[in-house]
Assembly symmetry: C2
Homo-oligomer: 712 residues x 2
């Protein structure tokens, strides 16, 4: 008997994207509304039921392998079926091909092979069609090798835990306080949290009602709070009960009916075990607190996938996720969660509607893929999913009007933003065309990586054509892009969306940028943005133009405003003009607003990218720039995660210290005097601009005369 | 409390086609080969996980309804969610809409509502996308009403039995005899059968091996028989064991290893409860036996779906099924099995390969839909599935060459038939173009029913263009169509396939028909057909030309030949020139041949359609013809089922008696003397041809002077 040795790299594998689709369905279907099941309103896809996996091996010696499969399966060695469904097999020495074909309906077919040299990982190839067929002679041959895709995986490395058994981590957490409330108690966990309520000393017969609240007001509003649990209790002796369904809350209003009682309530906090690799500290304590609460908001909404908010819909939304990805690059740098989310959102062919039914959300999906590549340098995702990018784009191309632009057709939701005012969604909305243009550019880049030169040409041409047409939305009168065109007639309305995106897309001349800044961004007559969602982009546009000082004040007003109201996580929407419990209303419902919404966490991104100023220049931070801007802070320090270690820096008006673990970087800064960095050559670029080349692993210290903190 | 009354018409419903896809996967995945799981080699689809069902009601009084759902669900009344997952609900009087949205991964989401007036049936509408969406105001509206499809159903009428629990019927059956064999016994069930082996008096510890055989030789060949079970026994006291997996067999070679014993073996015969509505008896006992064995062969292969053979692959194949459908119209007239099989074969979009990967099998699928409509008159299937017909045809159109013809591309299997000789599959195979042309014609007809005039025009034009091009395959020299064209060069080879199909497709002039008959069908130099599969069409072509006498002799030789060899069901292939156990070999395997293959049962079809001569002229037998042809028989009588009762007749050379339950018919016959039918007017058509108009429900007797039986 050959001793079985499992390689530590062995992991469960599946058809790429299928586990993500399945898990996404599990996640999206956990939404409830006051006890009713509340599934998504868009099509949800399903996994391939029958999948073949194979890999070729050349072994110096025979070895024993462990085989585990989620589903029924057949194991083939060199095309010959091994009887039964073997769980242990001795691989002979020499060149051999293993095929495992697995079938499972309730969850994706998945396989695990553990051996010393023969083990499952992403180098295995998969297909949902055999790509082998039997002709009259019984001969079996691969006829379409191109259709094999590399297997998908996560980090499920235990052969005896099936992928479908996956759960996030949990840890017990006590309430901060509990006070009598009616015939029950009001339990306060001290801050926004998420998990499974644990009831202790439960006793009696009857109903126990739990009313959840992100605010105390909501938990008290038993008739209208968004989520609740109504439990049937029949417990003659005191016992504990751990609820099966997770909820988001800070407050739990525990109301037993007559004949039922309980002693106390705690929870199992459920979380994704992500490391806070990104760090930020500065001279302003309010900004530090904003960063902390932003990071916690991001952590609560970074679960199996990046979701929007944890209380109400708990769904995966492409527009929301596209911001989570960006924040993630400056906080967790967790690429698997990005990939899972993108795969789950894309689903399967045929495409029958926009992602989440929202046109803009389709475009954010494309754009996010390029962001992913830029930050991680990982081409493999694009190589695997390019065909699905292409088919989604074909869907878009098929919905253009005669002018080559996309208008809302039946079933399309033109979202843009929740606005406190009329936002016209009709006709050719300039914002949608702008995103479409950027999506074409993304397709051209990805086609290059995938290796399809025809598509590169096609999408470059489409992008160039559409970019030329975007000029048609520019109004010289208004010095800005107008909002839309209906039946060939340009509207007179200017909104912020197209204008601010055009800035950081680099679609404007410096003169146009300044015009937009004055006529739109800093113009109070233009419809204001009230969601952190679009604040993200508005402030990014200002930062991209160097207005960090202004943005810092905005951050302190807007996010600081939420903190002043006692926020322990950032909200879906915030209007400083409101007061009291009015803050909690949205969607015509008194507690409809999410008080923990991923898009609320954008300072994480802005502080990392535009204050610490760390940005990749080429994919995966192979080259990068650091352009620290204090924006009025006395000092700041922090760390930005990358695929290969971190980039750490400290910056004050007189000193910059920086160290990067990998990559070739450049530090850019302004100095009123000639800067000094002992042992290093600083290049003067003119106009008080300086550059210092950075090599990996080395600590640099620069003495200079930068902008003071007096402007704060 | 309102008393709950369930309407007898209440039935489980699901998204159309989804249950069929799921059940087809269950069926196709039951194939094993000597203990190994042997799934299909083509893509298998999956159901929609999340489906919405709705219907509008206008109730005179409130009523209580029962709700059952396979899956999680939300119940909405007039768009408002009812908390929890109610199993009983009181519907208020007046106009109301019910929506039930259900989610299930392991099997298709399905719902059952039972009430007096409010109950689930095919009038409910379903969608996998909500077709409702929420705009900023929270308003919910249907935006794409066209995408709702009528729900699918079968006859699952018990609220407490979930659709996924469905099983075929079973009945215990004893073996005919058992004889000692080695250390065990050889059990003979007397004829080909199918089901679950039941072992009685099982005792001891060790292995019990069961070797199945459609022939005694196969059951004895323990090393190479196609199917087996190897059971681990640990049974200290005698007990019974019913096997979980079904098998096909006549013989079971029961071989216990040392330490294991059993007393006897019986079985649970598993079958679809179908009624033999078609009947046939005649003066020739061998033909009667052929009909009986054909009917039994059809019954064994008519299961959840029409499958090819019951022993080896047990899969649903489109070409095989297209013949089963036709036989079914003359035997069971079970439309649900036809629809299930067609839906399962079609699967879902996107189309990534031909049905079963076989080009001809895609075309048979199209053609079968028109057959289904002609025999049943049911337009609803076409109305529901036309979009899937269109997308499958789009796949075909995308694979045409520059000449507008389909050649085999990578991954395509050009099957045509198993042949004992070289059958060229390269280039433009004339047979495939012929089937494609017929498929275009089918699309044009179905587009008319679906109500898409553009498609009607498109497919009429495609059919006309291709029909004109088919002439290019006609060789005046050979007086027949040639087999194929490679790189623009016509082959010299003539095969039977294109020629015989062209006859009953009505693509030939009477002169061409006669030319084909002499130069191809009756020409021994042309590659012979050795499968009952193509014998079906060959004999149909001859019958269509009036050669029933010749065909009767062929039937007696070919099917009678199998009976003479002891066949209890008809085979996949039969070569009279072989002897002994050579008959059982196929696919280079000694027992590879199926001895119970649906395509072996074609006499059922030929005898009903071309001897009894009963054929629909318009859909659903609204009008029909009866043209009895004795073909040498002294008399025959029988019955042909229709959607509305039966058409029964007796025919001898001197008398015809006929009675039809419904429809407007015409009896056509030849008589050498003037025929007489008391009280009815017989029309003389000239040339000894006569016609008698038939009204429903009336018995007609005709005295005439027809062809005698002397020619047999």
């Amino acid at each position: 008997m050959i001793k079985q040795m499992k390689n530590a790299l062995a992991t469960w594998i599946w058809f790429p994207g299928d586990y993500e689709i399945w898990l996404g369905n599990q996640m999206n279907n956990r939404r409830t509304e006051r006890g009713s099941f509340f599934p998504p309103f868009w099509k949800i896809d399903n996994h391939y039921v029958l999948v073949d996996f194979h890999k070729d091996f050349d072994l110096a010696a025979a070895e024993e392998i462990t085989i585990r499969v989620e589903g029924q399966y057949v194991f083939k060695l060199d095309g010959k079926m091994v009887p039964g469904q073997p769980r242990i097999f001795t691989m002979p020495a020499g060149k051999h091909r293993i095929n495992i074909k697995a079938c499972h309906t309730a969850s994706p077919p998945a396989i695990f092979v553990g051996g010393k040299n023969v083990y499952t990982d992403n180098t295995w190839l998969t297909t949902f069609e055999d790509k082998e067929w039997i002709d009259e002679s019984g001969k079996v041959s691969d006829v379409s090798a191109t259709a094999w895709l590399p297997a998908g995986s996560w980090d499920f490395n235990d052969p005896d835990i099936l992928p479908s058994q996956f759960k996030l981590k949990t840890v017990p957490l006590d309430a901060m306080k509990a006070e009598p409330q009616g015939s029950g108690q009001m339990v306060d966990f001290g801050k926004e949290t998420f998990g499974f309520i644990h009831i202790h000393g439960l006793h009696g017969k009857g109903r126990l009602n739990l009313y959840y609240g992100e605010s105390r007001e909501e938990a008290l509003a038993t008739d209208i709070c968004e989520t609740l649990d109504s439990l049937t209790v029949d417990q003659p002796a005191k016992g504990d009960l751990l609820l099966k369904d997770s909820k988001a809350f800070r407050f739990v209003n525990v109301q037993p009916e007559a004949g039922v009682s309980c002693d106390s309530v705690s929870m199992l906090y459920e979380y994704s075990p992500l490391e806070y690799r990104g760090k930020f500290r500065c001279s302003d304590e309010q900004i530090n607190r904003i960063w902390d609460v932003g990071a916690y908001t991001m952590h609560l909404t970074s679960r199996e996938f990046f979701i929007d908010g944890i209380k109400r819909d708990r769904w995966v939304w492409s527009g929301d996720a596209s911001q989570s990805y960006l924040m993630n690059y400056y906080l967790f740098f967790d690429s698997p969660t990005v990939r899972r989310t993108m795969s789950s959102l894309r689903g399967k062919d045929p495409v029958t509607s926009h992602i989440n039914t929202i046109m803009d959300y389709t475009f954010y999906w494309f754009i996010s893929i390029y962001d992913y590549y830029l930050y991680t340098g990982d081409q493999s995702y694009i190589k695997t999913f390019y065909p699905r990018m292409a088919s989604l784009m074909e869907y878009c191309l098929g919905r253009r009007n005669a002018n080559g632009m996309m208008e809302g057709l039946t079933g399309d939701w033109i979202f843009i933003d929740w606005a406190d005012g009329y936002l016209d969604k009709h006709g050719e909305v300039s914002f949608e065309q702008l995103l479409l243009c950027r999506s074409y550019e993304t397709m051209a880049l990805c086609a290059e990586i995938y290796g399809n030169p025809d598509d590169v040409e096609k999408y470059k041409r489409l992008a160039a054509d559409l970019k030329a047409k975007l000029v048609g939305f520019w109004s010289s009168d208004k010095g800005a892009f107008v909002h839309n065109r209906i039946d060939g007639k340009l509207s007179e309305t200017v909104t912020r969306y197209t204008n601010m995106f055009a800035i950081f897309f680099g679609y404007l001349t410096p003169e146009q940028q300044q015009s937009v800044k004055q006529n739109v961004l800093l113009n109070d007559d233009i419809l204001k943005i009230t969601t952190p969602y679009m604040r993200f982009y508005e402030l990014e546009a200002l930062c991209a133009m160097g207005d960090q000082s202004y943005v810092l004040k905005e951050m302190k007003d807007y996010w600081g405003g939420m903190l002043d109201l006692g926020a322990t996580s950032f909200w879906e929407k915030y209007d400083p003009g409101q007061s009291g419990a009015d803050h909690y209303a949205m969607y015509s419902r008194p507690f409809g607003k999410s008080l923990c919404h991923a898009w609320g966490a954008s300072p994480i991104y802005l502080l990392g990218k535009y204050y610490l100023g760390v940005r990749p220049l080429t994919p995966g931070y192979a080259t990068y720039e650091i352009e620290p801007v204090l924006g009025g802070l006395a000092w700041m320090e922090g760390s930005v995660p990358t695929s290969n270690g971190d980039i750490a820096l400290y910056c004050s008006p007189v000193e910059i210290r920086v160290k990067a673990d990998a990559g070739v970087g450049v530090l850019r800064f302004q100095s009123k005097e000639i800067p000094v960095s002992p042992g290093n050559e600083i290049k003067a670029m003119g106009n008080n601009q300086y550059e210092l080349a950075l090599r990996p692993g080395k600590q640099y210290t620069v003495s200079y005369a930068g902008q003071g903190s007096g402007s704060l």
